[in-house]
């Protein structure tokens, strides 16, 4: 039982660190491709 709980806490920690950081990296950035300079509105 203790062994199972230890593993479960370990898995949760891995999700809370690697998983969270990975998802944050994807969500924190706007990955839309910027339009080329020529198509932008002229000043």
């Amino acid at each position: 039982m203790a062994r199972f709980l230890t593993k479960a806490v370990g898995v949760l920690l891995l999700f809370a660190t690697i998983g969270v950081v990975s998802c944050q990296a994807v969500l924190s950035e706007d990955h839309a491709v910027a339009p080329p300079a020529a198509t932008r509105a002229a000043p």
């Binding site: 891995l14 690697i18 944050q24």
Partner: protein, 264 residues
Amino acid sequence: VSSAVVARRRPIWIGGWLPFILPLPLTLDALANLWQGDLVGMLGSALPCILLFGGAALIRRGLAQASARPGQAAWPWRTLGAALVALGTAAAAFSAVGHSPPIALCFGLGALLGCYLCYGFDRRPRLSADKDVAAALAEAYRKLDELEAAGRRIRSPEFRERLGRIVAWGERILERIAADPEDFRRARKFLNVYLDGARQVTEKYARTHGEAGSAELEESFRALLADMEAVSEEQHQRLLDNDLVDLDVQIEVLTTRLRKEGVL
């Protein structure tokens, strides 16, 4: 069947995959940055990815090694892997997400703790508290490895199976000695003479059976393997019964036979 044998037969897919799966979104982030032409952003995600996947690979290697036979030269793969995973997580938190260094460090330490709780760090198991017994056991495990390696070079499935059983009995005997060093005295002859003989005869057969291919040689090797198996099984039983005398006589007979075969 001994725990070591069971452990080595454990399917490879059981464990160690989580550190490979969790950084997948980060890989997507690196690809998205590449798509955008953002080199700095791409490197900021790709380098932590490399660290994370490298660490995951080392952890799996460590897990596979942990289920191997004791006494083999061991690298602390799991510990190194956990360190790489922690470094990769901290790097991703800092460079791909933009957290401050202390927060990134906390993520790294959390990942390290997670790896420790999930997979543990490598510890070199002591074979025995007695130095002489530990040295003899390490030597015996090495001989078993060589016997197993020689067995893999033999094509006959029957002989490989027999050798597998002999090795399994050998492992059980060594486990028994590790558990009770008093058994070392009872099994000394087995370790010093028999294991060496078994290894040499198998290596010799593995070297020559392809060339000669004589039925007589095959028959003789088959009989020898049967004897070896019986002696190993009996040695194990004698250790359980703490009986010394009869088996030594039997090993003497087998030794004489090995000498006759030109092995010893």
